[in-house]
Every structure is written in structure tokens, then in C-alpha cells.
Amino acid sequence: MKTLAWGFTDDSLLIPIRLSNPLLETEYPIDGRVMAALDTGYTGFVLIPPMIFRALKLDELKPITTKGQMADGRSIRLLAAYGILRIPELPFEDEGLIETNPEIKEILLGMKAMRRLKTTVDGCRKLVMAETC
């Protein structure tokens, strides 16, 4: 089993990913990887800014709406569609609801994205390590 490690960046746990919408055959980014932050406070799968949601053409599919509850108790409306998350270096692939809202400014991987990953945070060496279950 392959384990990969990445250094902390800006004190966030960032890992390189790719996203895709197999229904409309779109990928983000088009080449390479994009960094996503692991967020154990987010209970969903993947949360992305609207610009990336549009780039994946997820906004062209029939929308699924749900509610996001922020830490201060306020709620926001989330627009969602099914897509694929990949960590090509592992390799790892999982499917789930990719959500967005105009308030979202970065790509977050939530607890549902981590359910098939063994993720270790090594604060001493400033590393985040991941392997598949």
C-alpha cells in the first residue's frame, strides 16, 4: 500500500487532487492538480467555489440543494451535483456530492472524502500523510 506525505502549507493540511464530472466529461484542473484543504469540521464530501463548480459544468446538471450550517449557527444554501474526487498519486478515487455556495473561497475535503482514506497528521514534522484503506 502506497503512503504519500505532503508538507503543511500556510498551516493548512493541503493535498493535491483532481475533480471530474463524468456525465459531461469535464475535469478540474484541466492539467495537473489543485490543492484542497482537509477540513474535519465539514461533514460533506467536497466543497468548492462556484467558479470551479461552473468549470466542471456541474451547474448544468439538475441541481440538488441542501443546507450548510456554519460554525456560528447560521445556514447557507448549498448547490450540489455528483462528481469524482481523485488523488492521482495514491491512486485514490471516490464519488460523492460536490457542493458549492458563493461564500466558498477554497476547495475543502470533508469527512465523507476521508472515509476511505487513512490520513495521519504529523505535527512534529509538519506533514500530512495519506493512504487508501
Binding site: P22, L23, L24, E25, A37, D39, T40, G41, Y42, T43, G44, L47, E60, L61, K62, I64, T66, K67, G68, Q69, M70, A71, D72, R74, S75, I76, L78, A80, A81, Y82, G83, I84, E95, G96, L97, E99, N101, E103, I104, E106, L108, G110, R116, C133
Partner: protein, 113 residues
């Protein structure tokens, strides 16, 4: 009362004996009580359950009719393509229910409710 003979790593055994005597005293049976406690907690936790990947099933609906059913999104996309159905015209549903509320965590700070 059952009797189980098992092998433990030396360092773990040392820690177990030290902790058991600290928590339950040096009386006879303290080690068994500590092991019973540890096993009870392990059996109650997720770690003792087999981790079987539950296959998610997708269905594509057009109106009320299911037009394609698949085990993965890629398979669903292939099925729609084969039938010449535009994915924009279907509603994709998963066997995994859509949560009514997602907790967004501390990284999401909104301007408005």
C-alpha cells in the same frame, strides 16, 4: 469466566501491567479487569467492525421513469451516452441519501445568512 492465553509485545505488556496496578491496585485480578475494560471499549468502537465498502448505486430519472441504473457515476455516464440521453435532462439520485444539513466547519465564514 473464560480464559484466554495471548501473546503481547513486551513494551505493551509492561505498560498494561503498570496502568492496571495504578488504576485497579495491586490486588489479584487487576490485570483481567484492565483487559476487560480495554476489550469492552474496543468492541464498542468502530475499530472492531469490518470496514466493508458499501457500493453506492446511482439512478438517472427522466420524469418518474428510471432510464439508467449503475454502480458508479462513470458507468451511469456510459449508460446515458449509449442511450443518447443528455445528462442535463436527467435527475441523478444516489442510494446514499442527501443530508438535510451539512456542517461546514470553521473554514467557512459567510457574510450573510
Amino acid at each position: 469466566m473464560g480464559v484466554i492465553t495471548l501473546k503481547l509485545d513486551d513494551a505493551l505488556e509492561k505498560k498494561l501491567r503498570e496502568s492496571a496496578s495504578r488504576v485497579y491496585g495491586l490486588a489479584r485480578g487487576s490485570l483481567s479487569r484492565a483487559v476487560e475494560d480495554a476489550l469492552t471499549m474496543w468492541l464498542q468502537s468502530d475499530a472492531s467492525r469490518p470496514h466493508r465498502a458499501v457500493a453506492t448505486k446511482y439512478k438517472a430519472f427522466r420524469g418518474r421513469a428510471v432510464v439508467v441504473e449503475a454502480q458508479s457515476l462513470t458507468e451511469l455516464a456510459r449508460g446515458l451516452k449509449e442511450l443518447g440521453i443528455n445528462p442535463r435532462d436527467v435527475e441523478v439520485r444516489s442510494s446514499e441519501p442527501v443530508p438535510a444539513v451539512e456542517k461546514l466547519g470553521l473554514r467557512v465564514a459567510g457574510r450573510s445568512a
